[in-house]
Amino acid sequence: MSKVLMKGNEALAEAAMRAGCKCFFGYPITPQTEISAYLAKHMAKRGGVFLQAESEIAAINMTLGAAASGVRAMTSSSSPGISLKSEGISYIAASDLPCVIVNVERGGPGLGGIQPAQSDYNQAVKAPGHGDFHMLVFAPSSVQETVDMTYLAFDMADKYRMPAMILSDGLMGQMMEPVEFPDREVNPVEKPWACSGHKNKREHNIINSLYLKPDILEDSVRSRYKRYEQVENELPDAESYLCEDADIVVTGFGAAARIAETAVNNAREKGIRAGLFRPKTLYPFPKKELNEAVGNAKAILDVEMNMGQMIDDIKLYTECRLPVYFYGRTGGNIPSAEEILHEIEVCSMKGEKAECR
């Protein structure tokens, strides 16, 4: 198939349908609007379900119901709406249900703004809801990657029986790029656990997250964490760019990483050996790949569109061996390549003597 020019949000919506998404439940919020609008136009024509829910809470619970019945289901929102979905996300994870949740991030906290931000890293990676659980988190940094990760998110959610998030942002969602939709067969996995009517041929299935006996609840959580070990071995993915000989490795995900790449190229032209490390999966975090990327570096410059969230993980996973500097813009502001280049230059002068902040 040839390339078409599409907005990130619309490409995500198209990719979801091609990945076999049968049901989409949404609620209006900027800047994810195009996902709902696109699916409203196309979903029913292709035999799927589009339904505008009365709230984010209802939308995530409709997604829970559809996923529990065994079909591929998705919901999308932007930052404040994701907070409302967190209850449902916790139940979905606790019920071992696969589904895809899209967060086209905007500035926060509170109502915040409607311009792009990455301020929901901690929410997505550390605490998407109450209780001990994880959610797969994919962070695309191009429209093409948004498409590829949408396919992957559905597959991996099914494989590991857990919710998967596409952590996009207003920039990824709104910009247009040429994109190609890979031709592929949708091979949904067998879901013998699904609540789709037992047809008098098997025992009844129960999808539940309540365990009143502490030992049984603990066993259930521990068995889920066993599965997370498998996820952490199999799924981490990252891009390392010019890191082999880099003195300064810039770390960032999604939109921030994309801008940082330009800054890294500009730094190289100025004779500064800079590189870029970009995690593509935020949970599971590519720890091994990070340590490989910073193997020869003297310092790390973490760039995010927030006040510094992933930086804690960068420090943790490199065990603070290197100074880790931070440059962030927030509130809907997008860092320019020039700003990041300036920070790279400052860091290259500080060298390895500086303290790890």
């Binding site: 409709m62 449902g88 309540l210």
Partner: protein, 250 residues
């Protein structure tokens, strides 16, 4: 030997955890009898609430999903939209349906979702030990209204059937009780109609069942039945508040 009375097939052969005198057992039974009579157990998915009936997933023989508090109508919507040929019912208490889940209830009805809602109204939060519910009657003493519910402080109860009857998407809104054999028969007929409505794609059907909570009311089962008759029915009159075919015309 002829068996004249037996456990409905759609009710699992397990001990129920409900308190002595609680009417959930009656409501479970008549719901299961309806599922048996319609022969739909293999194509039915039930959605449990949060509250006393949370473990109804262990009692009904069909596939069962346990929803977050109040979200059962949204979960049911997801199941039903994904699988229009399944019969989907929710089983919810008054705190679940009429307080935290009011939004999901009202909008499922407004959309005319082809689902069946079994709404058990006992005017109290049972599972958490007897707090004021959205349905607690003025003057009723609960753990959080120790001096009786005062409307000037706690507001007024919500009459769900009357409210939902105003919505175009509601096919059936009927209030019944389970305090006597004639009322139980009436309740079962209403539940059956609510399931048949779904099978015939007539729209959203809710059966509100006035129920007792002897434990949290601090009464014997028979006193509780008497309170149902003397206090609840006058405040929540039994009857059919709406009966129409939303999607196929009359």
């Amino acid at each position: 030997m002829q068996v004249v009375f037996d456990r409905p097939k759609a009710l699992c052969d397990v001990p129920l955890h409900y308190c002595p005198g609680c009417t959930h057992g009656i409501i479970h039974r008549i719901t299961a009898e309806v599922i048996d009579e319609l022969g739909i157990e293999g194509d039915t998915v039930g959605i449990c609430p949060v509250g006393c009936a949370v473990t109804a997933y262990d009692y009904f023989g069909c596939d069962m999903i346990e929803a977050p508090h109040g979200r059962a109508p949204a979960v049911a919507t997801g199941v039903k939209r994904a699988n229009p040929d399944l019969t989907v019912f929710t089983y919810q208490g008054d705190g679940d349906l009429a307080a935290i889940g009011t939004c999901e209830t009202v909008h499922a009805a407004a959309r005319g979702e082809n689902i069946t809602v079994i709404f058990v109204n006992n005017t109290i939060y049972g599972m958490t030990g007897g707090q004021m519910a959205p349905t607690t009657i003025p003057g009723q003493v609960t753990q959080t209204t120790p001096y009786g519910r005062k409307p000037e402080m706690n507001g007024f109860p919500v009459r769900m059937c009357e409210m939902l009857a105003t919505l175009d998407g509601t096919a059936l809104a009927q209030r019944v009780a389970v305090d006597s054999v004639p009322h139980i028969k009436e309740a079962k007929a209403a539940i059956k109609k609510a399931f048949e409505n779904q099978i015939n794609k007539r729209g959203f059907s809710i059966v509100e069942i006035l129920s007792t909570c002897p434990t949290n009311w601090g009464m014997t089962p028979s006193e509780a039945m008497e309170r149902l008759r003397s206090e609840m029915i006058p405040y929540y009159p039994l009857g059919v508040y709406r009966d129409t075919d939303v999607w196929n015309g009359q």
